[in-house]
């Protein structure tokens, strides 16, 4: 049998343009094509490799960042769409040299193994507290957008509970 198969071409080439972003409180300008995702802009153009790419398809949560404090998947967000928003990545969690309490709790509870999902988990975990979704029976559901293939899940829950309780609320 003769088969002629060509994969469907992606969208064509496009011209680079200037994109102005605010990342971790700092204004930056990039010359990039409009098709560049926020994730690739951070990793490949700004050298902010803390945000991870696990799937590039919106299925794993490794690329979770905040846009105006709301968690978004940066692999499904175009960099141009980040204009006018405050983007925060894991590199922006620390206060000076001090670890964010959630970062410290992740270390204390061994809430990771390989560490590849960890930046995304942290961005979700901190947002969870802000969203008021950190009751004991809510954490697992509201953290389920972040896959941890090492399966550190019970320890991730412990870390979140500790930070929640230290902050004095659910």
């Amino acid at each position: 049998m003769a088969i002629h198969v060509g994969s469907p071409p992606l969208e064509g080439t496009s011209k680079a343009r200037t994109v102005a972003l605010t990342v971790n409180g700092e204004g930056v300008e990039l010359r990039i094509e409009p098709r560049v995702s926020l994730l690739d802009a951070l990793r490949e153009h700004l050298g902010l490799t803390g945000t991870k790419k696990g799937c590039d398809q919106g299925t794993c949560g490794a690329c979770t960042v905040w846009s105006d404090g709301r968690r978004v998947l940066s692999c499904l967000t175009l960099a141009v769409a980040g204009e006018g928003h405050e983007i925060t990545t894991v590199e922006g969690l620390q206060d000076g040299g001090e670890l964010h309490p959630m970062q410290a709790a992740f270390i204390a509870h061994d809430a990771f193994q390989c560490g590849y999902c960890t930046p995304g988990q942290l961005m979700s975990a901190v947002a969870l507290l802000e969203e008021g979704r950190a009751a004991d029976d809510e954490i697992a559901e509201w953290m389920s957008g972040n896959i941890c293939r090492c399966a550190a899940y019970p320890n991730i829950r412990d870390a979140i509970r500790e930070v929640r309780d230290a902050a004095g609320g659910e």
């Binding site: 049998m1 003769a2 088969i3 002629h4 198969v5 060509g6 994969s7 469907p8 071409p9 992606l10 064509g12 080439t13 094509e33 098709r35 560049v36 690739d40 490949e44 050298g47 490799t49 803390g50 991870k52 790419k53 696990g54 799937c55 590039d56 398809q57 299925t59 794993c60 490794a62 990545t89 894991v90 590199e91 670890l99 970062q103 270390i107 061994d110 990771f112 193994q113 390989c114 560490g115 590849y116 999902c117 960890t118 930046p119 954490i139 697992a140 953290m143 389920s144 957008g145 972040n146 896959i147 293939r149 090492c150 399966a151 550190a152 899940y153 019970p154 320890n155 991730i156 829950r157």
Partner: protein, 752 residues
């Protein structure tokens, strides 16, 4: 002495991982970096009739489009497991050498461009035409042509094993069980996609590779390209999970090196998530049949265990299904045979708990059925079949702890309160069940000499170097502890250098052997430094320790002192300054005991699970898991528990979620994404209790470590499947267990 070994030390690389400063292999900034994208074959079998690269070449930013015409001939290298310490290609086939296609996804072209987006776009423009041929990719399609190979597992293990006469044993039994289990293929899907960055400087190659063994990468690429290993350096600091997928060295690594040589620029090749299903092997589709014979009192008379599975067109690969499964119980007779079907897939590979995860699953589900038939409690049935010796060889165990695992696990789980009758416990719509299974994983001494170097500075700090690796197991943390312990230093005063092939040679941490083999070398290196300085002090008239028996000198916090008179002593630094030593260093080596060491070598454990099955929907939720394990000496309970917990959840996932589905018509994986290949999310993961039972072991190295990487996964799936039976009265013989498997039985039950 403040014990550093056995302490719940936090991970030495924790800070880098939580701040995002840890640089994984695809995150090394390099000037002039180009991006490579693989174009994979769209047919499972056939021949490439033409490749049109013009459109791709003309697309913006493209540096090169490589096809087989642009690649040199690559050497043929035999498939040998990386634990052996030599070259270790994942399959003997190397792509882009001719026009034949053997499996879907096989690399047929590589596009290199200035940016990721340009490479990906141009790859979509490469037009490949094929003359396709019918493919075989499943057991169902190839069963008629199944064969018994001479050896499996990279020519490493016989396909058939036996002791006693299983036929006689089964015939003379009072009672038997005959059960067949089917396992869907599994893909590891480590969260970090495979990534290789290749940099050439003249004839020297540097690789940043997301791998499980940098030495294996160095030696494999050297062998394939006919280069000297001394020209290749592999640097890998962080790896985003491996689970066996990165134990062998797959074609994309060498392809990245060839692409970089072609374009004379550093090249980064990242395998996409979809390509992760056709780039590094998988756990093969398999079927296992277990026949047990037993006397009325529960004593096994024979075990017959057969496996059939799919391998590639090139290699006789099967996970060995009955290493642990043949050793767990004292049955006088055992016979097991692996049979293979040649299929148009990659060569399968190690997947967490290789062989044992499925082999012990089958055995332990059959044992549960046997316990029910005999009316003997499942824990008690295992107790009645314990063996003091390795039943295959008659050698004593190097250490066991099996009975203790069964006892302590049952106690922690509350097993005694269980009503053995299935289908008795109900909470509203939920049918509640509990189950258990034994766990075991072999300790194998296949590795070569392991080395490490320890250097102590006069300020009392040390650097220890070894070409070991960290991919989440916590190995670098325990190695730091082992070095600090032997040197008599605090943890903070020791830094471990690793992930660089220029460091002293260490093997690939695979098969749960990492901690055991490398910790031994680190221990000897650090102890050699300490012993040298202690001896120097004892022989130095200016030292307060002059004349003391070195055996009576202990070191704590960098200070040497008499064991029975801690007041008498001095620091390493004081001694070294007097002797004008800026630093001192030593190499430590460890050779594994010979393969025919007269001991049975197995790590034991026991698994318990409680599940809730929805009577109307057939969904299974695991509520609680308990695992008790005897992994020899525990170097760090915190990281050991995490490894074991991760393994137990992998077992849950194997039982309830994971399966790659083959579209047999097309010969392609049908669910190649993390949206369609289900792995557990947080809400799937129950609370997990891990009980660590330390056993002394003098055989497995100076520290008595046996390993924790895989055993967590062994038996946990069986405990869950047995719990599902206990909840519903229905036994599912197919993994993963799905709603479709359970609903008919539940409906029938409800209709009664």
């Amino acid at each position: 002495m403040t014990a550093v070994i056995g302490r719940e030390a936090v991970r030495v690389d924790g800070r880098e991982k939580v701040t995002g400063s840890a640089r994984y292999s695809g995150e090394i900034a390099l000037p002039g970096l180009a991006y490579a994208e693989i174009v994979g074959a769209l047919v499972a079998r056939g021949r490439i009739t033409s490749i049109d690269t013009r459109a791709a070449e003309n697309a913006g930013g493209v540096a090169a489009v490589l096809t087989r015409r642009d690649l040199p001939a690559v050497n043929r290298v035999p498939l040998v497991p990386s634990l052996m310490g030599g070259p270790a290609p994942g399959e003997t086939f190397f792509p882009m050498q001719d026009d034949e296609v053997h499996y879907a996804g096989q690399p047929v072209a590589i596009v290199v461009a200035d940016s990721l987006e340009q490479a990906r776009y141009a790859a979509s423009l490469v037009e490949v035409s094929y003359a396709g041929a019918p493919s075989v990719t499943t057991i169902g399609q190839g069963r008629g042509d199944a064969y018994e190979p001479e050896k499996i597992f990279g020519g490493f293990m016989p396909a058939r094993s036996r002791r006693g006469d299983a036929r006689d044993g089964l015939a003379s039994a009072d009672l038997g069980v005959d059960a067949t289990f089917r396992f869907a293929p599994n893909h590891h899907n480590a969260l970090e996609p495979m990534t290789t960055t290749a940099v050439w400087e003249d004839d020297r190659l540097t690789l940043y590779d997301s791998c499980q063994g940098i030495k294996a990468v160095q030696l494999t690429v050297a062998a394939l390209l006919g280069m000297s290993p001394s020209r290749i350096r592999v640097l890998t600091r962080y790896v985003g999970g491996a689970f066996g997928s990165k134990a062998m060295v797959w074609p994309h690594v060498t392809l990245a090196a060839l692409a970089a040589r072609h374009v004379r620029r550093p090249v980064r090749l990242t395998v996409s998530r979809a390509q992760m299903f056709t780039s590094y092997g998988h756990r093969e589709e398999q079927e296992q049949r277990v026949r047990l014979g037993a006397r009325r009192d529960g004593a096994l008379t024979a075990i017959r265990h057969d496996k059939i599975s799919v391998t590639s067109p090139f290699d006789d690969w099967a996970e060995p299904a009955f290493c642990a499964a043949s050793q767990l119980y004292a049955a006088p007779a055992f016979e097991g045979v692996h049979r293979l079907v040649r299929g148009n897939t990659m060569t399968p590979t190690f997947t967490r708990g290789p062989g044992e995860a499925a082999g012990v699953f089958s055995l332990e589900c059959a044992m549960d059925e046997l316990a029910g038939r005999l009316g003997i409690d499942p824990v008690e049935l295992r107790m009645r079949n314990l063996s003091d010796v390795d039943p295959n060889t008659g050698h004593p165990w190097s250490s066991s702890g099996f009975a203790e695992c069964l006892r302590r696990g049952a106690e922690r789980f509350g097993w005694d309160a269980r009503d053995p009758r299935p289908g008795r416990e109900r909470e509203g719509d939920q049918l509640i069940g509990t189950g258990m299974a034994a766990a075991a994983y072999p300790v194998a001494f296949f590795m070569r000499t392991q080395r490490a170097r320890a250097r102590l500075y006069a300020d009392g700090t040390a650097v220890v170097g070894t070409a070991a690796q960290e991919f989440g197991t916590g190995m670098t943390t325990v190695l730091t502890q082992v070095a600090a312990d032997a040197l008599g230093l605090g943890l903070d005063d020791v830094r471990l250098d690793y992930g660089d092939t220029d460091l002293p040679t260490a093997g690939s941490p695979v098969g749960s052997n990492g901690a055991m083999m490398v910790s031994a070398a680190v221990h000897y290196a650090a102890a050699a430094v300490r012993d040298r300085l202690v001896a120097l002090a004892a022989g130095d008239p200016a030292s307060p320790l002059h004349g003391a028996d070195p055996a009576w000198i202990t070191v704590d916090g960098g200070r040497m002192a008499l064991a029975d008179d801690p007041g008498a002593g001095e620091s390493y630094g004081e001694l070294m300054e007097r002797h004008l030593m800026g630093d001192t260093e030593a190499l430590g080596t460890w050779d594994p005991p010979p393969l025919d060491t007269p001991y049975g070598l197995l790590t034991f454990g026991a698994q318990f699970a409680r599940v809730a099955v929805d009577a109307d929907l057939g969904t299974v939720r695991v509520r609680h898991m308990v695992g008790a394990f005897a992994p020899g000496r525990v170097l760090n309970p915190r990281t050991a528990r995490s490894q074991l917990m991760g393994g137990m959840l992998w077992g849950m996932s194997q039982a309830l979620l994971e399966g790659t589905h083959m579209d047999a018509g097309l010969g392609r994986w049908a669910n190649a994404s993390l949206g369609d290949y289900l792995v557990p999310v947080n809400a799937d993961a129950p609370e997990v209790d891990v009980e660590l039972i330390e056993v002394d072991d003098d055989v497995t190295g100076p520290l008595g470590v046996k390993g924790v990487g895989e055993i967590g996964q062994v038996g946990s799936g069986a405990a869950i499947a047995n719990a599902v039976h206990h909840a519903t009265g229905h036994r599912v013989h197919e993994l993963p267990i799905t709603v479709e498997d359970l609903l008919p039985a539940l409906e029938w039950e409800a209709g009664r």
